[in-house]
């Protein structure tokens, strides 16, 4: 029965990814322009030459014909060739993916570290001045556009305080000449600002959920029982209340992956972060059809795989989700 469930979920995942690929392909092809349109706006390039290139890449064909070519290509597990990168789409994506994963992990640390910590504190000290201050701060962060927050951090930490680097994943000028530990530190320094930007906004709203959950947990009978047993306040809060109040945060964790990936599209270009978000943003502006579709397929695969793993784990852990044999 579990095997059948896994098989069904795998089929669903494959269909989802294929639908994402199809919709992305159509959306990007139906948008005005094509990868060669920029060439056509330059008087240095003869119109005949552009037309010839368009024929060469089948861009003069109807969109459905191009789609048929693309599906055949996908069936051979080939994501195509990037116009803007002059290399296979897969090469570009494989090179960019680790940087996005690194950034997403940093953002998750910030988001859950700050969100859970501050939210739990607020829940335990509800209506205190600090609670009100954190609530207002969380609201501001939640509402803040990520590019604005990014620029604010750059102006403060780079231009004014000269504390952190603004752009890139490493200090390209000296990175290769550094020792191993210095290289690790250099990477961490570069990760601070983009990680903070992507994580702080999530922390803003997670802390609000966490505050509510903590307050709810503190009103439960088991907390009163713990206090009645004479346990210290810290033990009651951390071991009993917080442990139970973490369930909403765990649920949010599963939902956060897509928003982190979409957030990366905004944050990565600002910080010159060499990840998938920056790659996809550039490809959209250039109408680099294969790269846009390839990035969407990879993002969909990551999200679908994450959800699938989470569901399967829940299926294994929670007996109520299992169908009786």
């Amino acid at each position: 029965m579990t095997g059948r469930y896994v098989a069904m979920r795998l089929i669903q995942a494959a269909v989802t990814v294929f639908l994402v690929a199809t919709l992305t392909f159509l959306a990007v092809h139906l948008a005005p322009g094509d990868p060669l349109q920029v060439l056509q706006d330059s008087p240095r390039v003869a119109a005949n030459d552009v037309a010839q290139l368009r024929r060469l890449y089948h861009l003069d064909q109807p969109v459905w014909t191009q789609y048929a070519y693309y599906v055949v290509q996908l069936a051979h597990l080939d994501l195509g060739y990037s116009f803007g990168q002059h290399r296979p789409v897969l090469d570009a994506l494989v090179e960019a993916l680790p940087a996005t994963v690194e950034l997403a992990l940093a953002a998750i640390c910030v988001m859950f570290g700050l969100g859970v910590g501050i939210g739990a504190y607020q829940g335990a000290h509800a209506n205190s001045p600090l609670d009100r201050m954190f609530s207002a701060g969380a609201l501001v962060l939640w509402a803040a556009p990520s590019f604005w927050l990014a620029l604010l951090l750059i102006v403060v930490f780079v231009e004014r305080l000269h504390l952190l680097p603004a752009v890139g994943a490493v200090d390209v000028g000296v990175y290769d000449s550094l020792g191993l530990f210095a290289q690790v530190l250099d990477r961490l320094r570069h990760l601070v600002l983009p990680g903070l930007t992507l994580g702080l906004i999530g922390a803003g709203y997670l802390s609000r959920y966490q505050r509510t959950a903590m307050r709810a947990a503190l009103s439960q009978p088991f907390v009163r029982a713990a206090r009645a047993r004479g346990l210290t306040n810290a033990t009651v809060l951390l071991r009993h209340a917080l442990r139970n109040a973490l369930l909403p945060a765990v649920a949010i964790f599963g939902v956060e992956l897509p928003s982190l990936l979409s957030g990366a599209v905004i944050v990565e270009p600002v910080f010159g972060w060499p990840g998938m978000g920056r790659l996809a943003a550039g490809a959209i502006f250039q109408r680099d059809y294969p790269l846009v579709t390839g990035a969407a397929i990879l993002a969909a695969t990551v999200v679908v795989a994450g959800t699938l793993v989470a569901d399967l784990l829940a299926h294994l852990v929670d007996p109520r989700l299992r169908t009786p044999a």
Partner: protein, 565 residues
């Protein structure tokens, strides 16, 4: 007693080790020192000349591949005056259509093989091959043949004599290694790994391309024209202009080739350790009027098809105040469809002063006397209104469009400003679906660019406005064929006066190109047409070196593996 004393000790030890490693001295660079970090907003598509379409790809390619000769500082395109030897040590005109180039015997490819006339023949053949699809192909149409007289002599023959033969023979084509590329099918060359990891003959070699992050070049200390002044050049990809300004001010980067925002120029000027260097701009901005009804090619535009009305609109716009307020004075007013980089540019007064009284009187004479409650002129119930398309990616154009809108409103003309996404913008103007566009052209050094953009031969191509005047066409064609510069200049001025009288556009402004550069560099100069070409002559004096200037030699990139795309 602390609960985790051992763990704490481990953490402290680890941090100490890390900090110690952080402070470890860089490997010595010997006598070849100096690193410039150059910020660029987009990642180049490729580095191979003829394939790359991006400005930065071309700029980097110019340091990897050498041309036969380079234009001098005056950017002359007539004859060979001012051109400086590069791969060719000397040249001569054998007759009116034949140029003979003697190559420098010292020139070498990265793999050590000599650069020979066969490479020149191969490169021209490649650039002219439609299968290769080089953007420069149409500029080489006048070349009849390129041959090798011997291993160090290349001969370029033209179909007919014209003043810019030498310019076309040297400006468009970079010499590529025949032995590395000859076996690759031309149609597949743009997809070969060579386009991203080329092997050149220039002052620098590609050391590493960190995708999405940086492109690093290392100096070729054996470069045949002399050792480059800086050992490393690093192009850091950083799309956001605010972040870029912050990096330059904080000393994290050394060069921004063009500070687009005038307020950033002021900040750079006020920052110790930075210099703002202005050089001639290759760009002019214009508001082009569609002389045809939107979407048609034969019906005159109901409003803007009228020459007198267009002239009144030109008169109503105060371009001097626009340059002052939008560019803080960092720009100039084009005298016609000309960029400051072109040798025919002149600062002579060409109706740049606004005359709102004359504009109002002209509109009155045209029958637009009645004014509606909104202050806009009307004629038989029809408002004097049109729409200006603006690319949404250009903050400057949106800002200036608002200023023009305000100025036109003062004389009773309504101009709606419609910002459009880049691809939508190109689509609309190519299909002629507009009243007016806020366009810009980045020109080549040759004034002949107007053949495609403003003469009748450009209609259906880049003359989006459908401007056509046989007198203008004749004058431009004469000027292009005139060998004597003084006579040519006079013809160009006459042509400019002709097009100005027809007012197919308002030549709004040409922003000054200002680079932000770390003041520790010496021998700094910029060339307007290909700014990166002079980088190999920059230098850092020892007493001004900073940490990254002393970094040891970068590893050279592995040559591209032979593989089929």
């Amino acid at each position: 007693m602390p609960r985790y004393p051992t763990a704490r000790r481990h953490v402290v030890a680890l941090l100490s080790l890390a900090l110690a490693a952080c402070g470890s001295p860089a490997r010595p660079c010997g006598t070849a020192c100096g690193t410039a970090i150059i910020l660029i907003r987009g990642e180049p598509d490729a580095l191979m000349p003829g394939v790359t379409q991006t400005t930065d790809g071309i700029a980097i390619g110019d340091l990897l591949f050498v041309k036969l000769a380079d234009m001098g500082k005056d950017l002359n395109t007539v004859g060979d005056s001012g051109f400086e030897p590069r791969l060719a040590t000397r040249w001569h005109f054998e007759d009116s259509v034949t140029i003979v180039f003697d190559l420098d015997a010292r020139a070498r490819w990265e793999d050590g093989r000599p650069v020979r006339a066969d490479d020149v023949v191969f490169s021209f053949d490649l650039f002219r091959d439609s299968l290769f699809g080089a953007p420069q192909r149409s500029s080489l149409a006048q070349i009849a043949s390129v041959t090798a007289r011997d291993s160090l002599t290349a001969v370029i023959r033209f179909r007919a004599a014209y003043p810019e033969e030498f310019y076309d023979a040297t400006y468009q084509v970079r010499i590529l290694p025949k032995h590395a590329l000859d076996s690759i099918p031309r149609g597949r060359l743009a997809q070969h790994p060579f386009v991203r990891h080329p092997m050149g003959n220039g002052p620098y070699r590609l050391a590493r391309w960190r995708a999405g992050e940086a492109i690093e070049l290392a100096a070729d200390t054996g470069f045949f024209l002399g050792r480059p002044g800086l050992s490393h050049l690093i192009w850091r990809i950083s799309p956001d202009p605010t972040a870029n300004a912050a990096q330059l001010v904080a000393g994290e980067a050394d060069v921004i080739e063009s500070l687009v925002d005038p307020t950033v120029v002021q900040r750079v000027r006020q920052t110790p350790g930075l210099a703002a260097i202005e050089y001639r701009s290759p760009v002019y901005f214009y508001v082009g009027f569609n002389l045809r009804s939107p979407g048609t090619s034969s019906v005159s535009h109901p409003l803007l098809g009228n020459r007198d009305l267009r002239r009144a609109l030109v008169q109503a716009v105060d371009r001097e105040s626009i340059v002052r307020s939008a560019l803080l004075g960092l720009g100039s007013i084009p005298p016609g469809p000309i960029s400051p980089m072109e040798w025919i540019w002149s600062d002579r007064d060409t109706r740049s002063r606004a005359d709102t009284a004359a504009a109002s009187a002209a509109l009155d004479r045209l029958g637009w006397r009645e004014r509606g409650p909104d202050g806009i002129r009307r004629q038989h119930g029809r408002r004097l209104a049109f729409t200006l398309l603006v690319p949404a990616f250009s903050r400057l154009r949106i800002q200036v469009a608002d200023l023009i809108q305000d100025q036109l409103k003062r004389v009773g003309v309504a101009m709606d400003v419609q910002p459009l996404e880049a691809n939508v913008w190109i689509d609309r103007i190519q299909k002629g679906r507009f009243d007016a566009i806020f366009g810009s052209w980045s020109t080549d050094p040759t004034p002949a660019s107007v053949l495609q953009t403003w003469t009748s031969s450009g209609i259906g191509g880049y003359n989006y406005q459908h401007y056509s005047n046989p007198v203008y066409d004749r004058l431009v064609n004469q000027a292009v064929k005139t060998h004597d510069r003084a006579t040519a200049v006079a013809l160009w001025h006459e042509a400019t006066d002709t097009i100005n009288a027809d007012a197919p556009a308002i030549w709004v402004l040409s922003p000054a190109t200002v680079a932000g550069v770390s003041a520790r560099f010496t021998n700094v100069s910029f060339q307007s047409d290909q700014w990166g070409m002079t980088l190999w002559r920059w230098h850092v004096p020892r007493d001004k070196m900073i940490g990254r200037d002393s970094v040891g030699a970068l590893p050279a990139a592995a040559p591209p593996a032979p593989r089929q795309p």
